[in-house]
Symmetry: C2
Subunit: 252 residues, 2 copies
């Protein structure tokens, strides 16, 4: 058993050897983005299946904390693969944009002797490129007793605003928060808008929204706008509202 | 004949009696919003058909500068009504969100002895509520020689960024700039989104966009998304892109 870094003691720099070890599985856009932030408090070791030079899955899964930064589609495969290597009392954390589905997979695939904490950082490489202090993270604790310590570290260590919720409530809200922004941004990108010099303040807001989403993967888009259990409701409301607005414009 | 205030002399305060007189026709949301800004440099008199306590149309139309802050649907009626009262050398300015249609109306309905300057302030009561310095205005000079003086005053007096263009180029760009933001915002408003606590940075951009459009009139929406000669093209591209994105989500 081990403890997360004590947030009250954070200003004091610990020697590298006494810092908790953290295995980061997945070094894609998001994994690479959070790596330096995690390295402020943890001794980080990375495994990425696409990088043969990274540490082995077995050695990374044997750390005190294991962070899974993999797409939802790979969650079950990764969970099954790490299960035999997880140490008793380890804390497994996921950062998926959904919470119901990945937490169900982890609850089923991981041994009883590990703790499981669902998180969803409500930011990414674009919105967090100037720093993450002041940004939000959703916490959905599933199993174990270290959620409160984790929340403290996220607040005082990383400066994040922590919002705790159930996985269901998280997914319902995200179906709107992320579903809407991503659907609208994908539509604007698909329109291939010509270069525009006469820009309103309102258009600058639209541009900023599209720019934060522009480089996200199609896999993330499908996770948000299709795999979320509440996404169908949002898509239906969007389609109905679009039809209503277009009808208003069509009238003479 | 008279001159616009000399921008170079602006820091010196003129006595009220020596300031050019300006008639403001229309005191709706936008007219009321620009009134105090105009009052910094001009002796402003207002006529609003909905306010019987305002000055008469004839007296307001007889000023050195006449600003028309009326919806496009009322432009012809107002132009015909003011025509007999306009003084030789007067400068007539419109602030409509479109430029081709209102300038065609003014060119036809106003006497040859007045100058005509099309403008489109690319801001409004929401985006300009904390001040207008640094915001943009489009200028489409139609008739007369005072466009350059007006641009100077707008730049140095009001602190605006002035972008000059033809009426056609203005309307083509605005079909996207305003069409997209207003169509998307109306759709989001029509969706009746539930209250959301878990907000991403991207969603804050969407919210800011919707909030600047939320209180605009349905008449302004139709001007932007239906009456603009290029609006049909934008609506068609939006519909095609929406269908494409929804299809991508529908695939298994």
């Amino acid at each position: 058993m081990f403890d997360l870094p004590d947030a009250a003691a954070l200003p004091r720099l610990r020697p590298a050897s006494s810092r908790p070890s953290l295995g980061l599985i997945g070094h894609g856009a998001f994994g690479a983005f959070i790596h330096p932030h995690l390295a402020r408090f943890f001794d980080v070791v990375v495994h990425d299946p696409a990088d043969s030079a990274s540490a082995s899955l077995a050695s990374v899964a044997a750390r005190q904390i294991v962070v899974l930064a993999v797409p939802l589609a790979q969650m079950r495969g990764v969970a099954v693969a790490i299960a035999p290597h997880l140490r008793p009392g380890a804390l497994v954390v996921d950062v998926c944009s959904l919470k119901v589905a990945p937490l169900a997979i982890l609850a089923e695939a991981l041994p009883e002797h590990v703790e499981i904490l669902g998180t969803h950082p409500l930011f990414g490489p674009q919105s967090g490129k100037a720093g993450i202090a002041g940004l939000r993270i959703a916490l959905c604790p599933l199993r174990g007793r270290r959620a409160r310590l984790a929340a403290q570290l996220l607040r005082r260590g990383f400066g994040l605003e922590v919002v705790q919720s159930t996985a269901e409530e998280h997914d319902r809200q995200m179906a709107y928060v992320q579903g809407l922004t991503h659907i609208v941004s994908r539509i604007v990108l698909a329109m291939d808008v010509p270069p525009l010099e006469l820009r309103t303040t309102t258009f600058e807001h639209l541009t900023r929204m599209v720019d934060t989403v522009r480089h996200d993967s199609e896999a993330l888009f499908r996770t948000i706008a299709r795999d979320n259990p509440y996404a169908a409701e949002v898509r239906e409301r969007f389609a109905a509202a679009t039809a209503e607005v277009m009808e208003r414009l069509g009238a003479p």
